[in-house]
Point group: C2
């Protein structure tokens, strides 16, 4: 931003909280490209301090040792810091540090999806009160520019749906299961061996990471507040090789999707956010997102279907997103302005999972005897669930019915499955999975 008030030759002081993989890369690039940043921002940017847990650790960056401190709180309270970059992660002490930084007049750039999804409102309110920016492009889908496109580029449009592959670990695992026919455990082992999954993979595998991103995406897309607690969540640990094969038979692939929907209900507009594995057709642009890549697919009224694709994690990609935010925040500092921290004017109701409309793929092991089909069909009819396709496979003790429903409320679909499980002639429900990506 430029205004008449811009003082010449100003230096902006940056404090970095956290110096892990992302922090190290941010510090390295801020230092190496100092001259370039000066030209792009219109003021020089100086790394004024780096808060770390332990001093004296070997670090792969060329910055003066005296910049390191273990007292993050003192660093953000100095009063002469213009921009605080928070890449510690987790709820505390990150929240306290960000609030203290804003309170002392700094603008904030953060990659902390967990904190934003859990308690973004507190941060946004503090930023607004302090008349400072809080930017968080790196919090969703790493280096893929998605926060600004949703907040700015699509701000003149009505977003109807966001479908995202926003977790690289689970996409890598599902891709391996699809490509090599591996089971979940085997694919997870490989992901861990190759560094695509952590030793404790719970946050990724059980969908917590994706759910945090879904909350942020839904808030941005629909101008309303959606928090982690509002997001329905299922992970991929129950996805079987058989599910993946069933998907293939249908011309589909299994992906862990973050799905944010705008609903027109009889009681007015509402939104929903959910994360669960789903089958999507191979023809869908998200189907070809391989390995640890991420992609976010946005459907809006005027723009139609747009998709953003790229690396969803990693030190360098995340640093790229952080530094793009630093440039934006720095320009605002120079212009003495700040952007809206949050857009919540829509204040929409959050629809529970049961009321979301989706389709189910259900594979049922049945006794191969007369009348089976009628009984099964009756179970679907009882809950007003309409069957789109039905295929019988095998005979005798191997007989299996593969059913794909039309769209219905999730509660009705799930009640149908419960009912099927009670039926005598149903030996087992061998696969249940939602189907997305088609109308």
């Amino acid at each position: 931003m430029s205004t008449d008030k811009q003082p010449p030759g100003r230096t902006l002081r940056v404090a970095l909280l956290g110096c892990g993989v992302v922090g190290t890369e941010v510090a390295r690039l801020l230092t190496r490209d100092a001259h370039e940043f000066e030209k792009r921002i219109g003021a020089s940017v100086e790394l004024a301090g780096i808060a770390v847990r332990r001093l004296g650790r070997e670090r792969d960056i060329d910055v003066p040792a005296e910049l390191f401190t273990t007292d993050a709180r003192a660093l953000v309270s100095r009063g002469d810091i213009d921009i605080v970059i928070e890449v510690i992660g987790g709820i505390e002490p990150a929240r306290d540090l960000i609030l203290t930084a804003l309170d002392h007049g700094a603008s904030v750039v953060t990659a902390n999806k967990a904190l934003l999804a859990e308690d973004g409102a507190t941060l946004y309110e503090a930023a607004t009160k302090a008349e400072r920016d809080i930017y968080f492009e790196a919090a969703v889908a790493g280096a893929i520019p998605i926060v600004r496109p949703l907040r700015d580029s699509l701000s003149g449009d009505r977003v109807q749906r966001v479908l995202g592959i926003v977790n690289g670990t689970t996409n890598f695992i599902l891709d391996a299961m699809t490509t090599h026919g591996q089971g979940f455990g085997e694919a997870l082992d490989e992901a861990q061996r190759l560094g695509f999954a952590e030793a404790d993979p719970t946050a990724d595998v059980e969908g917590f990471d994706a759910a945090a991103k879904a909350a942020i995406l839904a808030s941005l897309a629909f101008h309303t507040r959606v928090t982690l607690g509002d997001v329905y969540r299922e992970g991929i640990s129950d996805v079987t090789a058989s599910d993946v094969r069933s998907a293939k038979d249908m011309g589909c692939v299994v992906k862990l999707l973050a799905i944010c929907d705008y609903h027109h209900t009889p009681d007015g507009p509402a939104v929903s956010a959910r994360v669960h594995p789903a089958m999507i057709p191979l023809s869908h642009p998200l189907a070809s997102v391989r390995g640890a890549y991420n992609a976010v697919f946005v459907e809006s009224e005027s723009a139609g279907q747009v998709m953003f694709y790229g690396p969803g994690a990693g030190g360098a990609p995340t640093a790229s997103a952080v530094l793009g935010d630093v440039v934006g925040v720095a320009r605002n500092r120079l212009g003495n302005v700040f952007g809206p921290a949050e857009s919540t004017h829509a204040q929409l109701e959050i629809l529970p999972m049961g009321r979301c409309r989706t389709r189910y793929h259900i594979a049922i092991d049945v006794d191969d005897r007369p009348g089976v089909l009628a009984v099964i069909a009756l179970a679907f009819a009882e809950f007003d669930v309409s069957i789109k396709t039905l295929r019988q496979e095998g005979h005798g003790s191997d007989a299996q019915l593969v059913i794909v429903t039309h769209e219905a409320e999730d509660s009705a679909l799930s009640a149908t499955v419960d009912k099927l499980r009670e039926l005598d002639m149903v030996r087992a429900i061998s696969s249940v999975m939602r189907v997305e990506g088609e109308s």
Copy 2:
């Protein structure tokens, strides 16, 4: 943007220049969603006038007849207009109207790629002098947010290459040639029948439209000025069914690509921008961009590979991009700030096509006699072009050599082809096409 100075209850007056497909949609949405825009911007937006060529034409929008005028110049000179939306297209009178608008204190949103590529500098300078914004998200790749991601989100990174499918008409035609085996003429006819190509398809088919977008993309990506005249351009009218088959045989597909590169030359950094048909591997994310869709693939140092995908044209998608800009420009007006119109600090040399490095696929009809291969190989060696793969097909009078080179300067590759044409035993060069998308 928010500042203390924001006056309460302000109304921003918008003038619309042009009321064709895009303009009609912009007017319709500005009117229908007035309440939503007010909430997103923090001030109401009022459509103050619409400049059209002829009054009294039937239009599919519900706006007061007195808003229409044929005197665009008077409209932008009124002095009370805050934002001018230019969707007339072409050089004049668009340029004069935009300059007049800026001169009278309006900010500008334009979708005019031809004007920006031809003479953007004049507009950017006028905007900077007037301390007003000029936004142009709709000028490149329709509704796909690409201008802001390049300008803002990747502003902390170093872009190395932009590869784009930025013209829907040519992508539709090439897709039809690939899918149905049609020749160029037949595919063009179909595109015209279906409304994907204009009656005079020159601007699209000969790559002028893509070249304008390439100039804009290169300027944004590399922080330097690149104009239409700097862009090397070849269209698709010479692409044959045989080229498309050759591509298939190689596991490739033919696309019209806009390619912007950052070069490290012995004389320092430089950039290049070019538009031409090229074979890209099916595994490349751009290969699956079908029909009239567009996509822009960006390689940068830290972010790695990111891609933006969506509808590249059309009234509603373009209107979405225009209105996103209107929201951005409006927020800046309220904050009394303006963004940098252009980032040209890098001031890089433009490399001519001859010095761009690429690979060639060459199919040569040869006499099937001893020594042919040696003579052909010598022609490549003469220009230091190294052969990556060579395949002989057919025998006798049907003998054909299919050669793919390693990367070399385009001038050397093109000199090699000239040399081949002179050779006795070469009956014809049946296909020459660049190969991109692999290193």
